[in-house]
């Protein structure tokens, strides 16, 4: 009885929040509605005795959805994701894909033969999962894991030590906007012109030559 109530609450929560993802007008809200949907699914997995998988889904999605929101904001021309925007595009293709995948999944649900065995109340689901991951399927998962770890270390090495614009922790200027030579030379000629006008000393003019030259290049 209580199990049914909790299941239906979570199921409705997951579907409702998934629907809200497409009806909201903000990238951040869309990302976190999706997170709520994942949390609902995660709790349903916990109810299905897949405790570890359900909790790890919530753990992962907390970070994932935040990263997704940040990346969406970075890629869209929408300062900080504060302006309202329409979250659906290419409506016909999206509707076809949506109805198509819904039909396929419904067909699987209706026509597939699911095992009818009842999970024993003290099933060690987490231990069994661990045995599977480090037993028969070890090669697959360890290969994927080491590949991901290498990618992660590579990404850290790329961004943290030295980027294209200098060390990541020292701040940097975007290049090419003001060439260094012109920036250094710009105040030079005005000062030297004034100096030259005030006191036309021959040795000063010699020193000013390179600066004037650079100024001429910049023009």
């Amino acid at each position: 009885m209580i199990v049914d109530v909790v299941f239906w609450f979570l199921a409705v929560l997951a579907v409702f929040s998934a629907w809200r993802v497409f009806r909201t007008d903000s990238m951040v809200r869309a990302a976190y509605w999706l997170l709520i949907s994942f949390v609902g699914v995660g709790f349903i997995m916990v109810m299905l005795k897949a405790e570890f998988l359900g909790v790890i889904l919530i753990l992962m999605m907390g970070g994932e959805m935040t990263i997704m929101a940040v990346f969406m904001v970075m890629f869209m021309m929408n300062p900080a994701g504060l302006n309202p925007m329409i979250m659906v595009h290419q409506n016909r293709a999206a509707m076809a894909a949506g109805f198509g995948s819904f039909g396929l999944l419904s067909a699987v649900g209706l026509f597939a033969r699911f095992p009818a065995s009842v999970v024993p109340p003290r099933a060690q689901a987490t231990a069994e999962l661990g045995t599977e991951l480090l037993g028969d399927s070890m090669l697959v998962f360890q290969t994927a894991g080491v590949t991901l770890l290498a990618a992660m270390i590579g990404a850290v090495a790329l961004v943290s030590v030295r980027g294209r614009f200098g060390r990541a922790d020292e701040g940097s200027d975007a290049p090419e906007q003001q060439p260094a030579a012109a920036a250094a030379a710009a105040p030079g000629p005005t000062v030297s012109d004034a100096t030259a006008a005030a006191e036309p000393a021959p040795d000063v003019a010699g020193e000013d030559m390179p600066a004037d030259h650079a100024h001429g290049d910049a023009r």
Binding site: S26, V28, R29, Y32, L35, E51, F52, V55, I56, I58, L59, G62, G63, M65, T66, I67, A69, V70, A80, G81, L82, Q124, A125, T126, V156, S160, V161, A168, D169, G171
Partner: protein, 315 residues
């Protein structure tokens, strides 16, 4: 059935009582450490009353309004943060038998709840529709992505000797030697990462003076009170978890288990609270670089060492 429901209700009340009691103690400790470092005489009664007076003041204060905030999310953010702290405290065994949620994957539940702290703080900064608050929210995302991996990895290290993800076996596995000795890198890394997680003291990056208070710049009155309470709730929860997985939880001679657990939790809580007075606030960039290039490799060393020890012990 009735007895079971009653004991569940009792455990829920115990969790809330520990959370709120710990929060009050943390607030008092903060007053005491502030006065000690400022060389002001600490009068116990005044120090005990000050947090309550401040709370009453905030409760009566008018709340700040901003232009077109996301009002619902803004109101929910402190509730989410406090609820996450309560969930993480619920899986911590307070004594050998008093544990609110006996989850087989207790330490993963704790890590999952603490991973969602980033969401709560980000939404707190994002929802008032205010520039400095928003800057601080993005700053906390950078901080969160950086501390999350060393934080989770040192927690995994404590589960290895126990050969279990449940917290009672993790505590009992420390019967002969606490994890703080067995895994010397674990507790220091944990303490640094939970300071960042609770955005407290030297790592209160989203609430720094350089962003005028950041995520709390638009907070006053009851919302500010709730946000502060929720923040201290997080510190209490992580202290209790630190005491359980690194300092042997309820294990200890002479005194009853609950007293040992309370003493260890208070010790870690005092360390965390005092850090605000004794360490300067760190810049976000420095923290991110240190987290990725020093803390993460050290955490991996910690977990490899724990794995080798567990393998040798299993022989």
């Amino acid at each position: 059935m009735v007895a079971e429901a009653l004991s569940t209700a009792g455990l829920a009340i115990a969790v809330v009582a520990v959370l709120l009691g710990g929060t009050y103690i943390a607030a008092v400790l903060d007053v005491v450490f502030t006065r000690l470092t400022m060389r002001i005489a600490v009068r116990p009664l005044a120090a005990a009353a000050l947090p309550l007076r401040r709370a009453a003041q905030l409760a009566l204060q008018r709340r700040t309004l901003t232009e077109r905030p996301d009002a619902g999310t803004w109101a929910l953010a402190p509730a989410v943060l406090g609820a996450l702290a309560a969930v993480s405290l619920a899986v911590v065994p307070l004594t050998g038998t008093v544990i609110a949620v006996k989850a087989d994957t207790g330490i993963v539940v704790f890590a999952a709840a603490m991973a969602l702290v980033v969401v709560a703080v980000y939404l707190q900064g994002w929802s008032p529709n205010s520039p400095l608050s928003l800057v601080a929210a993005y700053r906390f995302v950078a901080e969160g992505l950086s501390y999350e991996i060393p934080f989770a990895v040192v927690l995994i290290g404590t589960a290895l000797p126990a050969r279990s993800l449940a917290l009672v076996p993790i505590v009992t596995s420390q019967e002969h030697l606490w994890n703080v000795v067995r895994q010397p890198l674990g507790l220091p890394i944990y303490l640094v990462t939970v300071l960042a997680l609770g955005f407290w003291g030297p790592l209160s990056l989203p609430e720094g003076q350089d962003v005028a208070g950041g995520t709390s710049v638009e907070l006053s009155g009851v919302p500010r009170l709730l946000w502060r309470v929720a923040q201290l709730n997080v510190l209490v929860a992580v202290s209790a978890m630190g005491a359980a997985v690194f300092l042997g939880g309820w294990l200890g001679p002479w005194l009853p288990g609950g007293v040992w657990m309370a003493l260890k939790t208070l010790f870690l809580l005092a360390l965390l609270v005092a850090s605000r007075q004794y360490f300067a606030r760190v810049r976000t960039e420095s923290f991110v670089v240190v987290a990725w290039t020093i803390l993460t490799p050290l955490a991996l060393v910690d977990v490899f060492m724990a794995g080798i020890q567990a393998m040798v012990a299993a022989r």
